[in-house]
């Protein structure tokens, strides 16, 4: 139990650090968003009218006062779920924009990543169990080759073949422009069709790491005495493979999965830009392009909180799976 409480306290501490960094970092960046907007409105080389600038500042709610006051205000607003107004999609609040896109991302990226993780581990375990078989050599050699291909290339090839040449699937977007956007079978099917290509692209590259990792770990655990003892006991082969060997081999992968979530945002941006998918990644991409600080900051914050939660969850799962972690370090 102590282990779980400790992990949770640690989570709170990191969360606070992240929130604070999220406050500090944008303020260190050069450039003034209000000036940018005025410039965009007025045209590039015209002189800036200070009154106009002031008006824009007020409109956007760009914080004033000293840095501590700003920090207090920031925390206060966070606490009340107010993240400000988007500069780009003025006057929509940031939360509305995120609310519209978050489900797309969670639905696509998170699901495919989890499926990829599970499938990857199963395939890796199978390859290790049948090591030196044809399947194993295909996995070891074939996948490390596929793994070297850039994700972008794979995604574009998929688009080219299935959307452009065969015209089986849509080129991009999350749904058809013509759809009713009401809950119905037709709409669900439409969403599925749009999600298929991006999902496929993630599922081709995503599990490779897990497959290779699992295979290598399990080739190790298969040689461990406890696995050999399980074989000596004459247990059914699937029990030896899953309950002894794979059960121990998966532990590093679970931690690895939590870590990989750290890098997931970059992947999301890439996927959603290529497939023009209306999710958080694309929103973030736009936010960065437009210096939309509130939006950027909020997306980052959401990502970080999501990551931390995932890490906490992974810690808990590892704790459940491995009794040594629970007690060992005390």
């Amino acid at each position: 139990m102590r282990y779980f409480i400790r992990r949770f306290l640690f989570f709170l501490l990191t969360l606070w650090t992240a929130v604070t960094l999220n406050f500090i970092i944008p303020r260190l960046e050069p450039g003034d968003p209000a000036e940018d907007i005025v410039r965009r409105l007025a045209g590039q080389n015209k002189p800036i009218d200070p009154a106009q600038l002031h008006a824009i500042r007020l409109m956007l709610g760009i914080p004033g006062g000293n840095i501590f006051q700003q920090y207090i205000d920031y925390l206060n607003l966070l606490f009340h779920g107010q993240f400000g107004v988007s500069y780009t999609y003025f006057p929509y609040p940031v939360t509305t924009l995120i609310g519209q896109s978050i489900m797309w991302t969670v639905g696509l990226v998170l699901t495919t990543n989890i499926i990829g993780f599970i499938a990857g581990n199963l395939l890796g375990a199978f390859a290790a169990w049948k090591r030196n078989s044809i399947f194993d050599s295909f996995v070891s050699v074939g996948l490390s080759f596929v793994g070297t291909l850039p994700y972008m290339w794979i995604a574009l090839v998929l688009l080219f073949i299935f959307a452009f040449q065969l015209q089986l699937l849509p080129m991009g977007g999350g749904f058809s422009e013509t759809s009713t956007r009401q809950m119905s079978w037709g709409y669900t099917l439409d969403i599925m069709q749009h999600a298929l290509l991006p999902a496929l692209s993630i599922l081709i590259t995503g599990p490779i790491g897990w497959i290779m990792g699992m295979r290598n770990n399990m080739v190790q655990t298969l040689r461990e005495d406890y696995t050999r003892l399980a074989i000596a006991k004459g247990l059914k082969p699937w029990k030896v493979a899953l309950l002894y060997s794979a059960r121990n081999a998966i532990l590093p992968n679970v931690t690895g999965f939590a870590m990989s979530l750290g890098g997931i945002m970059g992947g999301v941006v890439l996927v959603e830009s290529i497939f023009n998918y209306p999710g958080m990644g694309r929103l973030f991409f736009e936010a960065v392009g437009n210096r939309d600080y509130p939006l950027m900051q909020t997306i980052l914050l959401f990502t970080i909180v999501g990551m931390l939660l995932a890490n906490l969850l992974a810690d808990f799962v590892v704790g459940l799976l491995d009794p040594r972690v629970r007690k060992g370090k005390n």
Binding site: D225, G234, K236, P323, K327
Partner: protein, 643 residues
């Protein structure tokens, strides 16, 4: 029909990258129901491979390449996997080497019994639960421990759990592979005793695989001896004790002695086992055998019956034939064999040097504070210990793991500070040294570690490894250092030095590596050497050789040595003074011979009793010729190896 019959068995490790290793060659033996048989050999002799081959648990690329293994007449080598799986654990089970790793770390003890018992017996779940409790009690573990995870048990307990697990389905044969290696002597003794009692009660057959002939001889009915992948002797225990037939067995027996005897000597076997990628066409033991005759290098001896057992040796066979014809010697006597020995008498201890004091440990104690949450518990690792180290003398520190012997060593090297008491090196207070002072002091105190395999950095040549301390402490330039390295290598018996200095550690045998470690300790020309279990990881047959080397160096170079060990025999042989430590307290202290011959403390007596007592036959001792003038003894440390 015997329970287990192994016939002409060959096991080969073949990979594409390296030449095949012929690990087990043409092995024949039988094992009867209810018999307790020991299988002995040095590391690399193929004994574990043989055990795994019988169980069909060889790790790839190991493969049975010829021969047969029959269990109750059923041929295991060709049996379909599914049928073999059905036999497993019900017919034969196994215990692996000191179960550090043989219990699944992520499930409870109970579950590891449960899965196999549920699958292979008709017991209901509650019956299984009761039976697990019984099994644990059988190995003297409280049934409540079944709720624990493996990492919550001590090494000895894990090993006993593994034993209980092996007996879960009342098998007919249990194969134990080094079941007690790495455990404390007293725990070892207890487990072996437990095993033997259970075996007598339940009547299962045992194949006990071990490197330790002493332990095996104590518990087994019959002993098989393997050397370099071949079976060289197969004889009943009482016969082997009285008259080992094969010279190798004889040599191994020479490493044992009763430390409490009036005079103690042990012998070693010079050289190292052959490379098994090339199958020896002659007797594989010939390069190390003191008895070898030309025939030995031409033809391979067969494992033939002689005296009361079997052996593969030309000379023994000729003596046996002779005897059959002429009746010159009584057949009870076995063959006449030669010996290379290290004894207290030949050790330089006899020189009676009055060593001057180099280091004084005064009433030293060490308490560790352990914090768990907000509670602090303190543990007395070392309690009021006093002794001194004298130049040219060896002080033996004897104790089990956890006795505080390593903590004392660490305090002497200045890596840890005593909680109270003082350590004097001449005029220097060691326990007050810091930073630069420590660095300067360490030049005088060197360490020889237990494990020669991890003590040497694998990516550097021997020359580099030895030059570093020379240039670091001795302020020599590279050329001088290189010259000095040669001298050092010659000193520790690695001759010719040129051959060794360019090698990497992994290209050397265990004994050679330990010599390099010793050479490195000698490099800064220290006043004190701390040798922490320097022989415990080495093969039995070469331990005496390293002891002899240490002895020679200490006496010749007037080094003060702290010899840390759990082994009373080597302590008796090497040390002038002995301290016996139990849980941080010195329970006995005095001249080596007195402490061991007349122990006053119960704990020392326990330790002494735990040592396998082998009665060595008279003719073995007779082959050793004591030198009249001990000071002139040529302590020959050179017969290291042929590559």
């Amino acid at each position: 029909m015997a329970l287990l019959e192994v016939e002409n068995l060959d096991v080969t490790y073949a990979t594409k990258q390296r030449p095949p290793l012929f690990a087990v060659r043409n092995v024949n033996f039988e094992l009867n129901a209810g018999e307790f048989v020991g299988l002995v050999g040095e590391s690399g002799s193929g004994k574990s491979t043989l055990g795994n081959a019988i169980l069909k648990l060889l790790l790839p690329p190991g493969r049975i390449t010829a021969g047969s293994v029959r269990f109750e007449g059923k041929e295991l080598t060709t049996l379909p996997d599914e049928e073999l799986r059905q036999m497993r654990w019900r017919d034969f089970s196994t215990v692996f080497q000191s179960s550090m790793n043989s219990l699944n770390p992520v499930t409870r003890i109970e579950a590891q019994f449960q899965d196999v018992m549920a699958e292979k017996s008709d017991l209901s779940n509650s019956q299984i639960h009761d039976r697990i409790g019984e099994l644990l009690q059988m190995v003297k573990i409280d049934p409540s421990f079944m709720r624990y995870y493996p990492h919550e048990l001590s090494g000895g307990m894990k090993q006993r759990v593994a034993l209980a697990l092996a007996l879960a389905l009342k098998p007919k044969l249990v194969i134990l592979d080094e079941p007690t290696t790495g455990l404390d002597v007293l725990v070892q003794k207890e487990i072996m005793h437990n095993l033997r009692t259970l075996q007598r009660e339940q009547g299962f057959a045992v194949l006990l695989i071990s490197h330790d002939l002493g332990t095996v001889l104590e518990v087994s009915d019959r002993v098989l001896v393997m050397y370099a992948g071949e079976m060289v002797e197969d004889a009943p225990t009482h016969g082997m004790l009285k008259h080992p037939i094969h010279p190798y067995t004889h040599g191994l027996l020479g490493s044992y002695a009763d430390p409490a005897a009036e005079e103690v000597e042990i012998s070693y076997i010079p050289g190292r086992p052959p490379d098994l990628t090339r199958v020896p066409k002659a007797c594989p033991y010939a390069p190390r055998c003191p008895e070898a005759i030309p025939l030995c290098r031409q033809a391979k001896p067969q494992l033939l019956p002689m005296w009361d057992g079997k052996a593969a040796c030309h000379v023994a066979q000729m003596q046996w034939n002779d005897e059959q014809h002429n009746h010159t010697r009584h057949s009870e006597e076995g063959p006449k064999l030669l010996d290379a020995a290290f004894s207290e008498a030949t050790s330089h201890k006899a020189m009676k040097l009055e060593g001057e004091e180099v280091l004084r440990v005064e009433n030293v104690s060490k308490t560790y504070q352990r914090r768990a949450g907000f509670k602090t518990t303190s543990m007395n690792a070392v309690n009021d210990v006093s002794f001194n180290l004298r130049s040219g003398k060896v002080t033996g520190l004897v104790g089990q793991s956890g006795s505080g012997k390593t903590t004392i060593a660490r305090m002497i090297t200045g890596t840890e500070y005593p909680t109270s008491g003082a350590i004097w090196f001449g005029e220097t207070r060691v326990d007050k040294l810091k930073g630069r002072g420590i660095h300067n002091y360490r030049k005088h105190v060197q360490y020889v570690f237990q494990d020669p395999f991890s003590a040497l950095n694998p990516v550097h040549t021997i020359q580099y490894l030895l030059m570093r301390p020379l240039m670091n402490y001795g302020k020599l330039n590279a050329a001088q250092a290189r010259q000095k390295v040669r001298e050092l290598l010659e000193t520790v018996g690695l001759t010719p030095a040129e051959q060794f200095e360019t090698k990497m550690a992994h290209q050397l045998s265990g004994g050679q590596r330990q010599r390099v470690v010793v050479a490195r300790a000698l490099a800064p020309d220290p006043d004190i050497i701390i040798a922490d279990e320097p022989i415990s990881m080495l093969d039995v047959s070469i331990r005496a050789e390293i002891l002899q080397l240490l002895d020679k160096l200490v006496r010749e170079r007037k080094i003060a040595m702290l010899y840390i060990t759990h082994d009373l025999l080597s302590a008796r042989l090497l040390s002038d003074e002995i301290l016996v430590l139990n849980q941080g307290h010195v329970v006995e202290q005095g001249a080596a011979k007195t402490v061991i011959r007349q122990p006053t403390n119960e704990y020392t007596q326990l330790l002494l009793e735990a040592i396998p007592r082998l009665e060595r036959p008279d003719h073995v001792r007779a082959s050793y010729v004591p030198t009249a003038e001990p000071t002139k003894v040529q302590v020959d440390a050179s017969p290291v190896s042929e590559e």
